[in-house]
């Protein structure tokens, strides 16, 4: 909410900046706020690091189902729940206090929901990789902070990515984190070409899931079972 005021002040100083007007900027703020819960943008959400540390992961690995898909299914269920309880309230609050843009066109809603769903998978793909790193590092606190720094800053959660100046701006929009927050938010605002945006998101989801699958295979050889 405080962030909304800062963005309002910025757009009052520079109306029309980055192709948004003040209402768009406020909407961006509250829509992205709603992403925090479902996508666990501050990190965590997976029980995997804890299970690796406690050794319970050994049980997961002998189950006749893929560890990655198993975790993904768990995560999507959690995301759907959190979208309802953590995502909708801040949006309704924003709508009540500041008045946010609500797309009237059902096509835009469909594009947003598709983008949002893919973004949840991208976010899972990233957090799964972070979780797997615990197999090698044995402690997840360091990477957790690193992941939080990368995710909050490069996803557009702190400031919209289109405010980033010059080549740095081009770089951050090409990184996977942009597919988590900036892209679905732009789909909501109708500021992004739908097919290209969804394609980029699917690309990142596929890359991260692919890396996760490779990582899972490596873990089968590497995993250290803790406990006595």
């Amino acid at each position: 909410m405080l962030r909304a005021y800062v963005l309002i002040a910025l757009w009052q100083a520079r109306p029309g900046l980055a192709g948004y007007d003040v209402a768009d900027a406020v909407t961006f703020c509250f829509v992205t706020q709603a992403f925090i819960g479902p996508m666990q943008l501050f990190g965590g959400g997976l029980s995997l690091p804890e299970r690796i540390r406690s050794g319970d992961v050994a049980l997961d690995l002998v189950r006749p189902a893929s560890l990655q898909l198993w975790t993904l299914a768990e995560d999507i269920g959690r995301a759907a729940y959190l979208f309802a309880v953590r995502g909708l309230p801040p949006m309704l609050l924003g709508a009540a206090v500041f008045g946010i843009v609500v797309p009237a066109d059902p096509g835009r809603w469909a594009a947003f929901l598709a983008g949002f769903a893919i973004a949840v998978v991208v976010s899972f793909g990233w957090r799964y990789l972070i979780a797997l790193s615990v197999c090698w590092l044995l402690d997840d606190r360091g990477v957790a902070v690193l992941s939080m720094v990368l995710t909050t800053f490069f996803s557009g959660l702190l400031v919209p990515l289109n405010l980033f100046p010059g080549w740095f701006g081009d770089l951050v929009t090409a990184l996977p984190w942009a597919a988590m927050v900036q892209m679905p938010a732009d789909l909501y605002l109708g500021k992004a070409p739908v097919p290209q945006t969804l394609a980029v998101q699917v690309f990142w989801a596929a890359v991260l899931l692919g890396a996760g699958a490779l990582g899972t295979r490596a873990v089968r050889h590497k995993v250290v079972i803790q406990g006595g």
């Binding site: 405080l2 962030r3 005021y5 800062v6 309002i8 002040a9 910025l10 009052q12 100083a13 520079r14 900046l17 980055a18 402690d139 606190r141 360091g142 902070v145 690193l146 939080m148 720094v149 909050t152 800053f153 702190l158 400031v159 405010l163 980033f164 100046p165």
Partner: protein
């Protein structure tokens, strides 16, 4: 009391330093995580020259002053948060029978020296802003005063939050919204917020005295909300007015503490 505090803090620091690699990494990451807020300020000012009438260096001065107070409190006082866990599990009993005040023991409970990374970051930003704005002693004397005022205000907030845990038992999230929220609030000039919100943080919860009111004096500016000049110097008084009820609330909390048991 002070000696005991540092003795306890030093004990926890030595325990943490037993893993030097992790320790250094956490200090560095704390520094980077805190620097993100500055990066946001810089990105905003890459797009505009003034935010609510304040220049980049002026915003950084306000940010640095509040950040220094907050991170000092985050390092030395915020461990009070843990009181809710101790109340819930009943381990708070042991704090009460030791020959040191419970407040001192709790503020050093798992004292986390790695947070100095954040203190350092805020101090660098503040130093840069002072140098860039060319602030001399005739107004700059207010800066140490406002950092000290901020420390007292934030410490009082944390104590109030901890005292509330005696009633709420297990709701650190509720009180964290206040403590960490007030850090967010003070990072920017209050001129960007709505008038009613600013009134609230001036007259109800005196956050405006952490950096805004004294900061206006340092910058030699008038308040966009039109408060009188004398308000710039009320910081220490406001801090005391908040610290007294905080201390009373803490004592009341301890007096009404009931241990758990099966």
């Amino acid at each position: 009391m002070v000696r005991t505090y540092f003795l306890l803090a030093w004990t926890w620091t030595r325990a943490a330093a037993a893993y030097p690699g992790s320790f250094v990494l956490m200090v560095a990451l704390g520094f980077v995580a805190a620097a993100l807020d500055v990066a946001v300020v810089l990105i905003i000012f890459a797009n505009t020259t003034a935010l609510a009438g304040f220049s980049r260096e002026e915003v950084l001065l306000l940010y640095g002053a509040a950040g220094l107070s907050f991170s000092l409190c985050d390092t030395f006082v915020s461990n009070l948060d843990r009181v809710s866990q101790h109340i819930k599990s009943g381990t708070f009993d042991t704090f009460l029978i030791r020959p040191v005040g419970a407040w001192i023991q709790l503020t050093t409970d798992r004292f986390n020296a790695t947070r100095v990374g954040r203190v350092l970051q805020a101090a660098i930003v503040l130093g840069y802003a002072i140098a860039a704005l060319g602030i001399g002693w005739e107004r700059g004397w207010m800066i140490p005063v406002m950092v000290a005022t901020g420390v007292v205000i934030f410490a009082a907030l944390w104590t109030l939050a901890a005292a509330l845990q005696f009633v709420l038992t297990d709701a650190p999230e509720v009180t964290n919204a206040f403590t960490y929220g007030s850090n967010q609030l003070t990072q920017y000039p209050l001129a960007v917020y709505a008038r009613d919100l600013v009134k609230g943080v001036t007259y109800v919860l005196p956050l405006a005295f952490v950096n805004w009111q004294p900061g206006l004096y340092v910058l030699g500016r008038d308040d966009p909300f039109g408060t009188p000049e004398a308000m710039r110097f009320l910081g220490p008084a406001a801090a005391l007015v908040l610290a007294l009820p905080a201390a009373l609330a803490w004592r009341q909390g301890i007096r009404h503490y009931r241990s758990t048991g099966s």
